[in-house]
Amino acid sequence: MKNGFTFFLGLFLAVALAWTGIVMGSHVQLGHLAPYFDENEGKAFPERMPGIAAQGQLVYQDLGCAACHTQQVRRPDFGSDKARGWGDRQSVARDYVSQAHVQLGESRVGPDLATFGARPLAVDATRLTQYLYEPHGGMPAYRFLFEERKITGERSADALKAAAPAGYEIIPTHRAVSLVAYLQSLNNVYEYPEARPVEPAATKEGESK
């Protein structure tokens, strides 16, 4: 390799080709993807995240929740995501178009959260807030998202039903409230045309016969 110019051209092409292929190739395919407007429901999906949930997404990001939780459901015949109740259909690119910080995650130390908002635990904000305060199995308590406040006058309506020293109450901070709002907003269940579960080939053949 005596020719320096050819060598550098090679280095340049090595990066440029992979970048063009993977990044630009996907960009051409997905860059124009827009929310899907459902005429029957009169609104577009995925729905825009409420402001407080968008703040919660930043809390989710800066605490590193994605180190243990994925937000991507695999198709029904690939793994047991559907059987575990994590989603009836696979996640598709359109699910994420309105998210500023996509956090697909790479590890399932904890359960997948792509459709968390539809689960019983998430429906009740008070219960979910309480859940963050107490350790559960593999998930530690996130007590720094709460503050212990002296009760002055009446007990606050937001106070948790948790053991606090006499005269004190446990109040979720704004970060806890926004994180809960974010977790409740995770609800990728709308069935886009491209997201209909793919039936295993054997079933299709059986049906046609």
Binding site: L11, A18, G25, L63, A93
Partner: protein
């Protein structure tokens, strides 16, 4: 019997080595401090994995933040500093002239490490981004880029101003790593942090960057060391050397395409994953050529340096085959999202990269300082700890991943039970990490001991015994 690295042969040490002494020692010293720090954090992180309440009350050290800090300290602290030191030294030696503009290295190293400390403090206090291998907050990224550029300047000068027109495999890998990282890093900064892409394109860019940072930066740095050390120490030419060039270009052109294997079954175009699977298989050619070219390392003939190199090469090649195996969809469905992937990452980072760097450090430090390593048993202890620690860590994480993958895909097993099934494996992995940390503490202590000894007694060249068989 083991021949331990002793004082370098006076005839072999020239101004090329000694003139770069302090800048390279600064890079290596910082690298080892980061290595020890990342080892401590990795240990704490593993403890959190099987005992979640460990440090749970501390917001700066949640599992997610600690894991990001540990990864950052390892990649940008240990790997970058040590890799740059080794690459600069190789380029100077093979270029046949002392490094020029060394002040740039010193300034760059100081700025690089300062930015890194700032960035890690940022992650701990809530400025973390969610991109793998790029958790650092936006405000330190430009400084890191500039600092990297300044450290790399003497390397580029050594390449362009080399005395011989002919080049060696070690030079190709070192120059490729020096040049390609700033490029990858700046594109990733733009497309992930400063002007982020929309939706899942973020995940695709991140996947491309992580894979690129491994195949176009860290792996070439490690291979540069291997391609220099093996022929140098064995005194034999590289067998099947004609293939080395083809293997180099295969790594560069095919390697970065393999990143999509982590997104198999994910919400991304299916062709991304398919190309990754095919690329992983193509890349096997590169791994086979590396194994054939550098098989001399496995007949170490008593050289301690070669023992480190042999283990590193074995881990590198094994990692390549494991990547190709787990990229297949039928296997990925079980290993994806589990500790198996972490085991593979540790095999590459601790097994391949670090081991090759340890070998290079044991070889180059006596040459740049003109001093022998103070204690041979300490080197042997480090080798034993690094070997045992890495094997235990990787095997147990892969074992944990197999159990976890099986359980996750068996819907009848309640999710809450999985942690219990994986726990024994993770306890063993913690032990492996502890052994690894102990070994790295020994190396760091040893380097600082050597540097301190130097300041007391001026460098004395001791012609005998020669450190390693060498053919310049």
């Amino acid at each position: 019997m083991t021949t331990a690295p002793q004082a370098a042969d006076a005839a072999e040490v020239t101004e090329i080595d000694t003139s770069a002494r302090w800048p390279l020692l600064l890079l290596l010293g910082s690298a080892l401090l980061w290595l020890v720090l990342s080892g401590i954090l990795a240990l704490a992180n593993l403890v959190q994995l099987h005992t979640p309440e460990f440090m749970a009350g501390c917001s700066a050290l949640t599992y997610g933040r600690l894991s990001a800090i540990q990864e950052t300290a390892f990649i940008y602290g240990w790997a970058a500093n040590s890799g740059l030191a080794v690459a600069l030294w190789l380029l100077a030696r093979l270029g046949g002239a002392p490094l020029r503009s060394l002040n740039w290295v010193v300034a760059g190293t100081l700025f690089w490490n300062f930015a890194l400390i700032l960035g890690i403090a940022g992650i701990a206090t809530g400025d973390m981004t969610s991109n793998a291998w790029l958790h650092l907050p936006a405000y330190v990224l430009p400084m890191l880029l500039v600092a990297y550029g300044t450290i790399a300047v003497p390397g580029v000068l050594a390449w362009t101003g080399r005395r011989k027109e002919m080049t060696f495999a070690a030079q190709w890998y070192a120059v490729a790593a020096l040049f390609l990282f700033p490029w990858l890093f700046s594109i990733a900064q733009m497309m992930l942090v400063f002007a982020p892409e929309r939706g899942v394109l973020q995940a695709l860019v991140a996947g491309w960057f992580v894979q690129g940072a491994w195949t176009l930066w860290l792996a070439p740095l490690a291979l540069a060391a291997a391609y220099y050390l093996v022929p140098k120490i064995t005194g034999r030419i590289i067998p099947s050397y004609d293939f080395a060039q083809l293997s180099f270009w295969t790594l560069l052109f095919v390697g970065a395409w393999t990143g999509g294997r982590h997104l198999i079954g994910g919400p991304v175009p299916a062709w991304v994953a398919t190309i990754a699977v095919v690329s992983c298989a193509l890349l096997l050619f590169h791994y086979i050529v590396v194994a054939v070219n550098l098989r001399g390392a496995f007949c170490s003939g008593g050289s301690t340096v070669l023992k480190f190199v042999a283990f590193g090469l074995a881990a590198y090649v094994a990692g390549g085959f494991l990547d190709a195996y787990t990229a297949m969809r039928g296997v990925a469905v079980h290993t994806q999202f589990t500790h198996f992937s972490e085991g593979q990452a540790q095999l590459a980072l601790n097994g391949a990269f670090s081991m090759l760097m340890y070998g290079a450090i044991y070889f180059l430090v006596p040459r740049i300082t003109g001093l022998a390593w103070p204690s041979v048993p300490l080197i042997r202890a480090h080798y034993a700890a690094a070997l045992t620690g890495t094997i235990v860590l990787v095997v147990t994480l892969i074992g944990a991943g197999c159990v976890q993958g099986h359980d996750l895909n068996t819907a009848a097993i309640p999710f809450a039970d999985i942690a219990g099934h994986v726990r024994p494996w993770l306890l063993a992995a913690t032990a492996g990490q502890a052994i690894l940390l102990l070994g790295n503490l020994l190396l760091a202590t040893h380097l600082f001991w050597l540097a301190a000894a130097k300041s007391v007694a001026p460098a004395v060249f001791n012609p005998a015994p020669t450190m390693e068989a060498s053919v310049s």
